[in-house]
Each structure stands twice: as C-alpha cells, then as structure tokens.
C-alpha cells in the first residue's frame, strides 16, 4: 500500500495559507468562547479596538478586560506553545533519528518540572515575584540540559541512542524528585497546582509571558527552517550526512541547544503539554511527506491550531473549573494518532 502511495503532492503555498486562516479563525474563536459570556460582536469589536488602538466605552470595561487581558494572551500563548512544541518535535525526531521521540524525550521538561514545583510547592525564589515560576522552570531546564548533554556525550559526539537513553533515564530521576516534593507538600491546593503544571496548563498566561516565548519560538523555527535540508541529510544517517557536507556531530550539538532552549522556554510558561510534539510531526508527514522543508513549514501552524482548540476545550468541558490542557491533547491525540497509523499504511518508524 505504501509503495503505491504518492506522497508529498499537496501543494505547499495553499496549504500554508489555508492553515494560517484557520489559525486566525481559531484565535478569534478561542477568545470568544469562555465561561463568562461575551457576545461575538463585542469580541470582534474589542479585538479590533485593542489591535488598532481604538477606544471602548467605559461600560464595556469589564468585558474588554476579559477579552483583551485574560483570554487573548492565553490564546496567543497557546498558539505560540503549540507551534514551538510541534517545531521542536520535528527537530528532535530528526536529531535522534527516531520517529517516536518528542520534545520531552531529552529529559528537559522533567528538569523544568523540578524547578517549577520547587516554586509551587516549596515557595522557592519568592523574591522573583510573578517571574519565579518561569525563571525557575527555565533555569532547571538548562541544568537538566547540561546534565543530559554531559552524560550523553562520548568520544564520537552525541549519538542518537545515547541521547535517548540518557534523556529517559535522567527524566525518571527528575520525576522522582518532583514526586518527592509533591508528596512532601503539606498543602493540598499546592499539590493540585503542581499536578496542573505537570500536565500542562495555560491558565497562568499573561501578556508579559508572550514576547519572550514568541521570540524564542520564532527564532528557533527560523534557525530550524534554514537547516531543513541538513535535517533531511541527518535523518538519512550520520555517514550519509557527512558525505553530503553536513557534519552530523556538530549539527546534533547545535540542534540540542536550540531544541532545549525552545522546549525550556515553552515549558516554563505552559508546563509539560504532551502529545503535540509527538503527534503533529507525524500527522504533518502523512500529508506533506518527510521532507523537512515542507514539514517545518506546516507543523508549527498545525501545532498552534491544535493547542488553541485543546485549550478552549480544557476551559469549557468542566466550566467553570479547568482541566489541564495536556489531558485534552492526550484524549484527542491518542485516538487520532492510532487511527491514522492503522489506516494509512504510514511508514511508522520506517518499518
């Protein structure tokens, strides 16, 4: 079945344009849908006013604040996080040459969780105020990254298998630390917040978080997209890649730093949202083929749309309570993934 299939024939420009429009629509819907009812006409009006620097009447102040200060940053951050996780997922899978890898396989998110929970449960870095959580999560993500890198390195550089094994092993260690903190925490509400963070949540989104996260994700994506062809070579194997003029050990080192930085930043603002980084690259490859030039053009848009809608569901399903968004991505993602895998004869993992 796979042999007869001709893939990679979906023309890219219409696909990217279409997905961009879907993303714009999803953002508007994401802002419009919520526990507090705001009329759609008002939502559009407020968005227009906020975007163009217009004014709203004083009577609309509360509704405007909900739309512009609470929902919009959350939706935008969701799009940024989704795009970042999808792009990093593509890069990590090429880096470790394993289609089952995701941004969290390198242990970075588990490392970030240690820092985040130190803040949530133990009140560490209280002096940093609202930034404590993000800074601590990012800082411990960097420490985790340095640890994984240091352990995985060998005489011949970073090999895919060592990276995956080291990342997985250290992730267990980090998770054990987190678990100890959760069990040691006296306060039930803090444990709940910790659980929320571990499964990923955009509940704490503010405008202040958006610029750094967006800048990191965009910079990471630009860097990856510029190396899409080198990623193709790396995916074919280290020897092939060397023969094509791409130094595999160096590219893998750079990829490690870039993916770790993007993952650390994203995880710091949203927690560990699972499945996006694993699933989106696969779904995109089924549609546009394996060429990283095409995959990297499409995957971030799909990731952004997916996470915006997953976040909407996480807010609405048990409103006014919230579910962790990672639960939604898992509930939606797992069946979709299994279905696509079984149906398409897709060359999953190459065989």
């Amino acid at each position: 079945m796979r042999q007869a299939r001709s893939h990679g024939r979906v023309p890219l420009p219409p696909l990217v344009l279409g997905l961009s429009l879907v993303l714009a629509g999803s953002v508007v819907c994401g802002v419009g849908l919520g526990a507090a009812g705001v009329a759609w006409a008002d939502v559009v009006r407020f968005l227009w006013a906020g975007g163009t620097g217009g004014s709203v009447r004083a009577a609309d102040g509360a509704a405007y604040t909900i739309v512009w200060e609470i929902r919009l940053p959350r939706v935008v951050l969701g799009a940024v996080v989704g795009a970042g996780l999808a792009a990093v997922g593509v890069a990590v899978q090429a880096m470790v040459r394993n289609a089952l890898a995701d941004p969290f396989v390198l242990g970075i998110s588990s490392g970030a969780a240690v820092g985040a929970n130190a803040v949530i449960l133990l009140g560490a870095f209280a002096g940093l105020g609202v930034w404590a959580l993000s800074v601590s999560a990012f800082g411990s993500a960097l420490v985790a990254m340095a640890l994984v890198y240091g352990v995985a390195r060998s005489g011949v550089g970073l090999t895919p298998l060592r990276l995956v094994l080291t990342g997985t092993a250290l992730a267990y260690g980090f998770e054990a630390l987190t678990t100890v903190m959760v069990f040691g925490a006296a306060r039930g509400e803090a444990a709940r917040a910790a659980m929320m963070w571990l499964l990923g949540s955009l509940g704490g989104a503010t405008w202040a978080q958006v610029p750094i996260a967006a800048a990191t994700v965009v910079a990471g994506w630009v860097w990856l997209r510029a190396r899409a062809e080198a990623l193709n070579a790396l995916a074919m194997g280290d020897e092939t890649s060397a023969a094509l003029g791409v130094r595999p050990e160096r590219l893998r080192r750079e990829l490690f730093v870039v993916t770790a930085a993007v993952t650390g930043t994203v995880v710091a603002v949203s927690g560990a949202v699972g499945f996006v980084g694993l699933m989106v690259p696969h779904v995109v490859r089924m549609v546009v083929g394996a060429d990283h030039r095409r995959v990297l053009a499409v995957a971030p848009l799909v990731g952004a749309v997916l996470l915006v809608w997953a976040d909407v569901l996480s807010r609405l399903l048990l409103a006014p309570a919230e579910l962790p968004v990672g639960v939604i991505t898992a509930v939606v993602g797992v069946p979709v993934f299994l279905l696509l895998m079984r149906r398409g004869g897709y060359a999953f993992g190459g065989r």
Binding site: N98, E239, A243, G245
Partner: protein
C-alpha cells in the same frame, strides 16, 4: 573462520569483463572528459580528479584500525579495495568521505586536503554511498536524490530539478520518483543512491560494498553504472571476481595494513588469497569471454595442524568420580589418542 567463500561464484565478469585486459597497472584511463557521460549533458560534474590517501592511520579507543595506508586513484580510474571482514576497508573509506578524521595522514582530493576543506566544498568534490541505508523517515525517491544538491551554493529549484531528473534518468529510476524510498527493493535503492551521488555532481565517488545484498544481475548493473559515470571511483568490494572484472587497480587490506596493490590479476594470486582470505583459489577461463575467473575452496587453517578427517572424535568419557566435575570444559583428557 577466515573462509568467506566456497565453491563456484557467479560469472562476475559478464558485461564489460573483457575490457579490463591490457589496462596498465597504474590504472590511468586517459581521455575521461570525452568519456561516455559527455553526451549525457556532462552528468557527473566533469572529469574525475585524482584521489590520494597518504599515510592514513586511524586509532579508535587506543586500538589501531588501519595503519599507515597509502593509496592513489588516478583521475577517472576505478580502484577496488578488497580484504576480509574487519580488515579496515570501511574505516579507510570513512576517512575518505570525511565521516571519520584519521588520527594521522592526509586524504587528498585533486591535491586538496579533504579534511582541511570546508565540509560542503569537499562534498561538492566527493560523493559517497555509505553502507547504512536505514532511515526512519520515508522520503520519496525524488527527495532522496534531491539531497545530492545540498552541498551546492547558488542553485535554483528549477536547476536542481533538471539535474536530479537527469541523474534519475541516468540510473533508470525516473519512474520511481514519487515512490517512498523505504519501499524499494535493494537494487532499486542502490540505483537511487547512485542517482543522488550523481546529482551531487562530484569528481570522485566512494562506495562501501555497493553490491551487498544484491542479486548477481543487480551487482553487475550497479558496477557498470558506476563504471560508466566517468568519475574517479574508489569502492570496497566483497566479491573478488566482480572486483577483478570491474577495477583498473586493486588494493588489498589485511588487518588494517595494505598488503598488495596492482592490476587485479597480478594481485589476486593464489599465495596472497591463501594468506589474506584463507582460501585456495583456482583460476579458470570463462568459456565464452575468456576472462579469468577464480574459484575458491576452503583452505585448511594453518593453525589447524591435525590432518583433515582424522580429528580425534570427542570420546564420551564416563566419569567415575562420585562428585560432579566443577570444570567440565577445562577437564584435560588423560589419553590424547585413545581410540582412533
């Protein structure tokens, strides 16, 4: 076990086997610019340039894999590298296509030190077919061939398409362009990888056992394709008859050292084959082409001092001891030749 091959091999010399006769030992084929590829739009990126390996030594974790290897491939020549498994062929080739930096020594492509060149510049001069072929990702044939354009600068999408189309037509895989690479047969895969190498428009082509896992027709097919590229070729080959039939010059590696070199039939002598490969070779003439073929027999190992057929059979030795022997395998037999 040092014996890899027994009995009759296929007629590896069919095709262009007879052409090798009379090629001088240094393997220089002159007139390469006017070679068979000149009519096909200059595929291959121009005449092959010379390739030189000078005193290359590779140590991995303190162990010498190859030692002080010298090797010269004249521009446009087809040079074969033969040797038993583990003799260092792949390691040497990896140094040539820059997957491995030699501990000492130089690899020269047309005079330039390959390891001093920027990676992409070197890849514009030298293409390789490594032994790995495992990708987790199912690229199409067109995408795999397109990777050959990666090292080139100032290229256009249209130009790349044209060059890749020519390369695919040249190796007969144009009809597979939209197929997934992973679903191809071994022979098709190899033709696609050669197309990728041609799309790279190199001057030198390095192949690590390109005929592995191929049936005999595809083996001949792949080697004639490579031969017809007009490039300077250095290939590690397993099949000695194929190597003799297709190569201008053969180098023999054994235990990481170069033990012989020269024209195939000067190199593949019985004494050398016995010593390096542990086989007894019988040269016979091909009944139709007259090319010399080698048949191989297992050679009794020199360390095996017992005459064949007279191995003392492991005699079941009843253990009269009441307690079980703690070292059954180190048990020394009291009578070396008890019952012949």
């Amino acid at each position: 076990m040092t014996v890899r091959r027994e009995g009759v091999r296929g007629d590896g010399g069919r095709g262009d086997g007879g052409r090798r006769d009379g090629v001088p030992g240094d393997g220089v084929r002159s007139g390469v610019p006017g070679g068979p590829e000149a009519g096909a739009g200059g595929l291959g990126g121009g005449a092959g340039v010379s390739l030189g390996v000078e005193g290359v030594t590779v140590e991995v974790a303190g162990r010498r894999i190859v030692e002080d290897i010298g090797l010269a491939v004249a521009g446009g020549a087809f040079v074969g590298l033969v040797g038993p498994n583990g003799s260092g062929k792949s390691t040497l080739l990896r140094c040539v296509y820059r997957a491995l930096r030699p501990t000492s020594g130089v690899v020269r492509i047309g005079g330039d030190d390959a390891h001093a060149l920027p990676a992409r510049e070197a890849a514009r001069l030298l293409a390789a077919l490594p032994q790995e072929s495992a990708s987790e990702f199912d690229f199409t044939v067109a995408e795999v061939v397109g990777m050959g354009r990666l090292p080139h600068r100032e290229r256009t999408a249209a130009g790349d398409r044209e060059i890749c189309a020519q390369a695919m037509a040249r190796t007969g895989v144009a009809h597979l362009a939209d197929r997934g690479f992973l679903g191809l047969s071994g022979g098709e895969k190899q033709r696609v990888l050669i197309a990728r190498a041609l799309a790279q428009r190199p001057r030198v082509l390095v192949l690590d056992e390109p005929t592995n896992h191929l049936d005999i027709a595809h083996q001949l097919d792949v080697l004639s394709l490579v031969r017809g590229s007009g490039l300077t070729v250095l290939a590690a080959l397993h099949d000695l008859n194929l190597a003799a039939a297709h190569c201008d010059v053969l180098y023999v590696l054994d235990g990481g050292r170069m033990v012989a070199s020269g024209a195939p039939h000067d190199v593949l002598r019985q004494e050398l084959l016995a010593e390096v490969f542990g086989v007894r070779a019988h040269p016979v003439r091909h009944p139709e082409t007259g090319a010399v073929q080698l048949l191989f027999d297992r050679l009794p190992r020199s360390t095996d001092t017992r005459p064949l057929g007279r191995h003392p059979a492991p005699v079941p030795h009843p253990h009269p001891h009441p307690h079980p022997d703690p070292h059954p395998h180190s048990h020394s037999h009291p009578h070396p030749h008890p019952h012949p």
